[in-house]
């Protein structure tokens, strides 16, 4: 009964507004995604301005303040086993964790886009080989593979980034491959080919612009994954090394101080959860906004 009206709406809307404002309007309707943008902005600003807004030096050891409870001795979120300010450490750790997340996302997306486009466009044996390789990489439980790799390299920002990307490129590859596979049969691609465009030109000029939407979604989700994975390896002791703080390694010894100082364990975990949830919701919102068919389903 509502088919007539929705079709009319769908036809009427693009005539009045541009595509970008339509996408924006659809995104604004996804309330968790909008809230996530705010949260991510706050976390990002906190990390960027960590030097200015931190109440204390995150590395300054003050044994008199050992395990100071939240809201005492000038520690808003308390102090850890060495009397270091938890809030200041969280802000500075944000730099590390968010940088690893964003850098790993960049590598993941570049590798995934290139491999996915090549596999999808050329098809045949190249596609089959890449698909099996993807399957093989997906068969390793990610944390096992990550630990095996992380344990044998000196932990640093670049090495963490590469290791996370090595274990994460498969999802983007599959998504891009699927999209390219369906696009390459379309008439505008045949048209370009008829005009003499080579494979590289078709991929860059014609296919890539049409995959930007799903790449944006995949990129956002892979930031979430990278932040989570960084926290796992750092927590297990093979990631970012103390005294430098990352959200994961702040929880290293937290288990031993439960009875005396639960806040040392609670706050870093809350921040990780907040950051990862926000990036996941952002990806969700982008998917809904960029895909006209998914207005209904939000699964």
């Amino acid at each position: 009964m509502s088919t007539v009206t929705t079709t009319a709406d769908a036809l009427a809307v693009p005539a009045r507004q541009g595509l970008s404002s339509l996408v924006l309007a659809r995104f604004a309707r996804h309330r968790p995604a909008v809230a996530s943008v705010v949260v991510i902005a706050c976390l990002g600003l906190g990390a960027l301005l960590a030097d200015r807004v931190s109440p204390r030096d995150p590395l300054r050891i003050e044994l008199a303040h050992k395990f100071a409870a939240p809201l005492t001795k000038g520690h808003l979120l308390g102090a850890d086993e060495l009397g270091r300010d938890v809030l200041s450490r969280l802000l500075h750790a944000g730099r590390i964790s968010l940088s690893v997340g964003l850098a790993a996302m960049a590598v993941t997306v570049v590798v995934g886009t290139v491999l996915g486009s090549v596999a999808g466009y050329f098809g045949r044996s190249l596609d089959a080989v890449l698909l099996r390789l993807t399957d093989a990489m997906l068969s390793f439980p990610p944390i096992f593979m990550l630990l095996a790799l992380a344990a044998f390299v000196r932990p640093s920002l670049p090495s963490m980034t590469v290791i996370i990307a090595v274990t994460s490129w498969m999802d983007v590859t599959r998504m891009v491959r699927g999209q390219v596979l369906s696009l390459r049969e379309q008439e505008f691609v045949t048209g370009a080919r008829a005009l003499g465009a080579g494979a590289a030109r078709i991929m860059v000029r014609h296919l890539f612009p049409n995959t930007v939407g799903i790449i944006a979604v995949a990129a956002t989700l892979s930031v979430a994954r990278a932040i989570l994975l960084e926290s796992y390896i750092s927590f297990l002791g093979y990631g970012i090394q103390p005294p430098l703080a990352s959200w994961g390694n702040m929880l290293n010894n937290a288990q031993s101080y439960f009875s005396t100082a639960p806040w040392v364990a609670i706050f870093p975990g809350l921040v990780i959860t907040l950051a990862v949830t926000s990036f996941n919701f952002l990806g969700d919102g982008l998917r809904d906004a960029l895909d006209p068919r998914s207005v209904q389903s939000r699964a």
Binding site: L133, A136, L147, F152, L228, S231, Y232, Y238, G269, T277
Partner: protein, 317 residues
């Protein structure tokens, strides 16, 4: 169907070969290499190290080592642990039951809760309950498992004293089922949370798809009551695509198990893996990597074949 089975099995074999190559090269190309642990030992003389390298076959070219190792893998000769000289196969299989118990309990809880919430969510789409479930599923997918475990220990063991904070049973006590179950509750729930979220989301999506089908409307039009339509007509068909989810989830479940076992000092494969990394125990590490990946490949194969057996559209695609 026979052609489909043959194709899927052949693919799985290729993937397994790639998996073994991957696991082998990761650990052998890593800086330090398998001999690094011995080189670090102060009591190890240079000539001893050389002799050991020769005995372990580490001086041979990589492809020779791989073939030798792969042949051993197939003949149940997985080498000996560098740490204590025990057979790798024995060391690893000793730990399998604990991991299986943990994973199966988490799986069962996750499937039950996930199906229930997913069905209600789909039937009452856009209700408060639906929004709540969607929201908490997303949060559950984003919580680091190790932190969730820590919080569980803090609340239920530290504050309430209701449950033990770790281990598979009371140390030194004889086997007792009730005691084992009490120790299982926290780790299994921790591991189950991520899985519940996935099952709930997939169930909801699958149910929504089915509910929109013509035959559901037909059933309703014929006067079948609401609950009967949902449970008899819709659920049965919505469950079919979920068969593959079990297989797809395995890698994440193994990863979650590793973290959970570490937090709760659970004597499973994941903890063995973490310990073995500390000792640079290459044969055990490779054994676990290959075993888990093989289980994942097998799980996906079984799930795909079951799916194709039930839904003929798949095998002809």
């Amino acid at each position: 169907m026979r052609a489909y089975v043959a194709r899927r099995v052949a693919q799985a074999v290729v993937v397994l070969v790639l998996v073994s190559l991957g696991g082998f090269s990761v650990l052998h190309l890593a800086p330090g290499g398998p001999a690094a642990i011995y080189a670090m030992s102060p009591t190890m003389a240079a000539e001893d190290l050389e002799r050991l390298t020769r005995e372990l076959g580490l001086d041979q070219p990589l492809h020779v080592q791989y073939v030798k190792w792969a042949r051993g893998l197939l003949t149940a000769n997985w080498g000996r642990s560098y740490r204590d000289g025990r057979l790798v196969l024995e060391v690893v299989t000793d730990r399998v039951p604990a991991t299986l118990v943990l994973m199966l309990s988490a799986f069962s809880v996750a499937i039950l809760v996930g199906l229930a919430t997913g069905i209600v969510s789909a039937v009452r789409q856009y209700s408060v309950f639906d929004h709540l479930v969607t929201l908490s599923a997303m949060v559950a997918l984003s919580i680091p498992t190790f932190w969730l475990g820590l919080m569980g220990i803090y609340v239920f063991a530290e504050l309430l004293g209701a449950l033990p904070p770790g281990n598979i049973g009371t140390i030194g006590a004889p086997f007792a089922l009730a005691d084992r179950l009490r120790h299982l509750v926290l780790p299994a729930s921790t591991l189950g949370v991520v899985m519940v979220a996935t099952w709930s989301r997939y169930t909801r999506a699958s149910m929504l798809e089915v509910i929109g089908e013509d035959y559901i409307r037909t059933a309703r039009a014929k006067g079948v009551s609401g609950a009967a339509v949902v449970l008899k007509h819709a659920l049965k068909n919505a469950l079919i695509p979920l068969i593959t989810l079990g297989g797809l989830q395995l890698p994440l479940v193994f990863s979650g198990a590793l973290v959970t076992e570490t937090i709760f000092t659970w004597p499973g494969m994941g903890r063995l893996f973490v310990d073995s990394i500390g000792y640079r125990d290459y044969p055990v590490l490779m054994g676990i990597l290959i075993l888990t990946a093989t289980l994942v490949v097998a799980g996906n194969l079984v799930a795909d074949l079951a799916y194709a057996a039930i839904d003929p559209r798949i095998r002809h695609a």
